[in-house]
Homo-oligomer: 88 residues x 2
Amino acid sequence: MMRELYFHRDERRGVEKTFMWITEELGELGRAIRKQDEQGMKEEIADVLAWLCSLGNLLNIDVEEAALLKYSGVCPRCKKIPCECVFQ
Amino acid sequence: MMRELYFHRDERRGVEKTFMWITEELGELGRAIRKQDEQGMKEEIADVLAWLCSLGNLLNIDVEEAALLKYSGVCPRCKKIPCECVFQ
């Protein structure tokens, strides 16, 4: 869906600038959290995901598929549900 | 799924440190892109999404739902498919 909406623009913008957009949106998410702005948090977390999908489209990576491949129901490190890794 | 796997740890870690983890993983994604490490890109993009979901769980935000709400098939700014906004 994000591909259909935005790929023509993502492609023109390129990987580097799209990466910068993610960090910009992540900064906005940080500010919304700091200000305890609940509506803002929702919007900014959606924006970070949207830009991550745009980046994935540019890199030919299906973000959801990549995540499901790595986190397929068990922790990829300890293989447990829930995760029992000792690191924090 | 991420909630079941990691919420007990996310909760102990807290919002701030979870936010820091996202930025750390985003940095690793940046490095994988710079090195043109395709396997690394897939893994790191999965990690960024996983940490974003962890943060969402802590903030009681369903990341996918928030994204679908904002990007419901049309661009939230210009309302067009594909997006026709003039800004880059």
